[in-house]
Amino acid sequence: MEQRQGRGELAIGIGVLALAGVILWQAGTIPSPPYAQMGPRVALYIIGGGLALLGAALAFTAAAGRWRAEIDADAGPPDLRALAWLGGALVINIMVIEKLGFIIASTIMFALIARAFGSMKLLRDGAIGLAIALTAYLGFDKLLGIRIGAGILEGIL
């Protein structure tokens, strides 16, 4: 268990190092105009270099077992089933929002997220979601003049 816990932290450190690598690599691809005192690359080098140092420090402390960032370890492992419902809600929303429009897509997302948080009243949640999405859409449209995308219901309103 101790061993397993340190792995996430180590992965974060390596991830930060990788990000630093990407930034430094990108910096190399930018042509620097000769006339600028401080070209567009300098900031990238500073930030990439800083991230590389920080990533190394994170990875080192994690590997040495001196970094246990997990808050409230006694709360148990993350609830993967709930996260799956939530993730599903977000993915479906991205996939259908253009076809069905903001209001219907939001209604579906609302019901699925409520399910992720343990609500079993699918119909009630859907109705509330629809009401919130409608209110938000009309509020933004009528009060602020901002149209939240086009869609089936949006065309009627």
């Binding site: 401080m38 991230l51 929303n93 991205i94 903001f102 997302m109 409520a114 948080f117």
Partner: protein
């Protein structure tokens, strides 16, 4: 002095117009609501409302934003007293004693001392902005780009490395934010940076997406991963809100001390309400005639930190309005609203936009009075908000978060970016990285680069100016001290 009063009276003339009063009322009401509700903070709310900058004139928008900012402070204390789940880190201390008071049937008095203390400190802090602001501006007008750059470095260090649990994690969050700020076309040389050939990224990442993604989406994912059915109990308010004579006499000194601690710390380009609230709690515990009550509902332990919290929130507006230097996530997002109006933040703001600045300050005084009414006689309404079941609350929050991304361009790509940032936020939360430095780095980074470039142009590429100009050098020295000082102290005390 008289100049300030004159300017302030003109500010009141602006703030007291019916339309601006309405914006102020709307702001403080919305602010209280989102302060009470867990999961939505002032930074997210203002980020979601940024599109109104295209519709509403600047003064009105900033009156609205500042109202939300102040209101969230009041609302947050209600939740930490009655539910003991502090919505913001600044109200952790309030929960310590406030929730104990509520458990012992003194919730009403805890709410009263918190609200009145917030009012006293908020008014004191707002007066502080009005009188300290012009002084800071006079000093800042003498600053060159090198000094500005040094000040920003100082702010970077204090928000990321001094506060929080770990300097390395704080700085990592900051540098991550700085790199997000670089995405897009470099406005000086026209080179695309970190865009990976994706056209959507040429304009840079939107602060709304990042703030809402980190704070709202990431927080929802985090809570979802550890949410087990069952809800926090909301303690009902019993009896009258009136405080006894003893409550008053124990509270008023704590309010004043809290305000005196909070405002200067907030006004330093350091930010963070955690330090003043903890400091105030510690001071009250030391000075109290009833130290045995601490931990079991001592009223001073609510009064002092609440006042410190609000005074420091007001203090944060001083560097924001006079230097263009945000030291909290909310202030950083307000700064991006300036950008959206094409208003240059900084010491010239007071000269170029006096009606905006003074109208804003005046409306903060008015907003404080509205907030006192909203949060004392009407506190019952807000308590009802706490009864919203978590599934509905968080599902609703994600609908609003999605709007923030989708109405930018009407493209699902922006929603995808929002959710990806949310995943980053989830892991930052899981591994205890602070998120505010990301937003501050993202907004302030480009300004820092610009200042550094100007300094380099003036010095013809000589980097030593940063150290040899006396003011810039001393500010940078303070920044270095702030970073390594606490660690040296730790090592020294361990060695002993």
């Amino acid at each position: 002095m008289t100049e300030t009063l004159l300017a302030l009276s003109q500010g009141f003339a602006i703030a007291l117009t019916p339309i601006n009063l309405l914006w102020c009322l709307f702001g403080v009401t919305l602010g209280t609501a989102i302060g009470v509700l867990p999961g939505l903070g002032p930074a997210v709310t203002i980020a979601l409302l940024l599109p109104i900058t295209f519709k509403v004139e600047a003064t009105a928008a900033f009156i609205l934003f500042a109202g939300i900012y102040y209101g969230a402070m009041y609302g947050g204390s209600t939740t930490s007293i009655l539910v003991n789940t502090p919505g913001e880190s600044a109200t952790i201390v309030t929960a310590l004693e406030g929730h104990q008071m509520a458990k012992r049937g003194r919730g009403a008095q805890a709410l009263s001392t918190a609200a009145i203390g917030s009012f006293v400190a908020g008014t004191f802090g707002t007066a502080g902005i009005a009188f300290l602001g012009p002084v800071v501006v006079d000093m800042a007008l003498k600053f060159g780009p090198a000094e500005y750059f040094a000040l920003m470095v100082l702010a970077f260090v204090t928000v990321s490395a001094v506060l929080g649990n770990s300097a390395v994690r704080g700085l990592t969050a900051l540098f991550f934010g700085l790199s997000l700020g670089l995405i897009g076309v470099d406005n000086q040389t026209g080179q695309a940076r970190l865009t990976f050939g994706i056209t959507e990224l040429l304009d840079g990442l939107d602060v709304t997406q990042v703030a809402v993604g980190l704070f709202a989406v990431g927080e929802t994912m985090w809570l979802c991963s550890r949410y087990r059915a069952g809800q926090d109990e909301v303690i009902a308010i019993k009896g009258s809100l009136w405080m006894s004579a003893q409550d008053w006499s124990r509270s008023w000194k704590a309010w004043i001390r809290g305000a005196l601690i909070g405002f200067p710390i907030g006004a330093l380009p350091a930010g963070g309400a955690e330090v003043p609230t903890f400091l105030s709690y510690y001071v009250e515990k030391k000075l109290s005639k009833h130290p045995e009550e601490f931990g079991q509902g001592a009223i001073e332990g609510v009064a002092g930190p609440e006042a410190a919290n609000n005074a420091s929130a007001a203090g944060v507006l001083v560097p924001m309005l006079t230097l263009g230097l945000p030291t909290s996530a909310t202030a950083a997002i307000m700064l991006s609203a300036f950008q959206s109006y094409g208003i240059q933040p900084g010491p010239l703001l007071l000269q170029n936009q006096p009606q905006l600045v003074w109208g804003l300050i005046a409306s903060l005084f008015i907003g404080n009075i509205m907030l006192l009414v909203l949060n004392l006689p009407l506190v019952g309404i807000w308590v009802k908000l706490l009864k919203i079941p978590a599934p509905l609350l968080y599902a609703g929050i994600l609908i609003f978060a999605t709007i923030g991304a989708y109405n930018k361009s009407g493209s699902p790509i922006d929603i995808l970016i929002l959710y990806l940032v949310g995943i980053v936020g989830f892991f930052m939360r899981k591994y205890d990285f602070p998120t505010a430095p990301v937003i501050i780095g993202m907004i302030l980074g480009p300004f820092a680069e610009q200042a550094l470039r100007q300094a380099m142009t003036i010095s013809q590429g000589d980097w030593t100016v940063l150290a040899t100009r006396p003011l810039a050098g001393s500010i940078l020295a303070v920044a270095v001290l702030a970073m390594i000082g606490p660690r040296l102290w730790q090592m020294a005390s361990r060695a002993r």
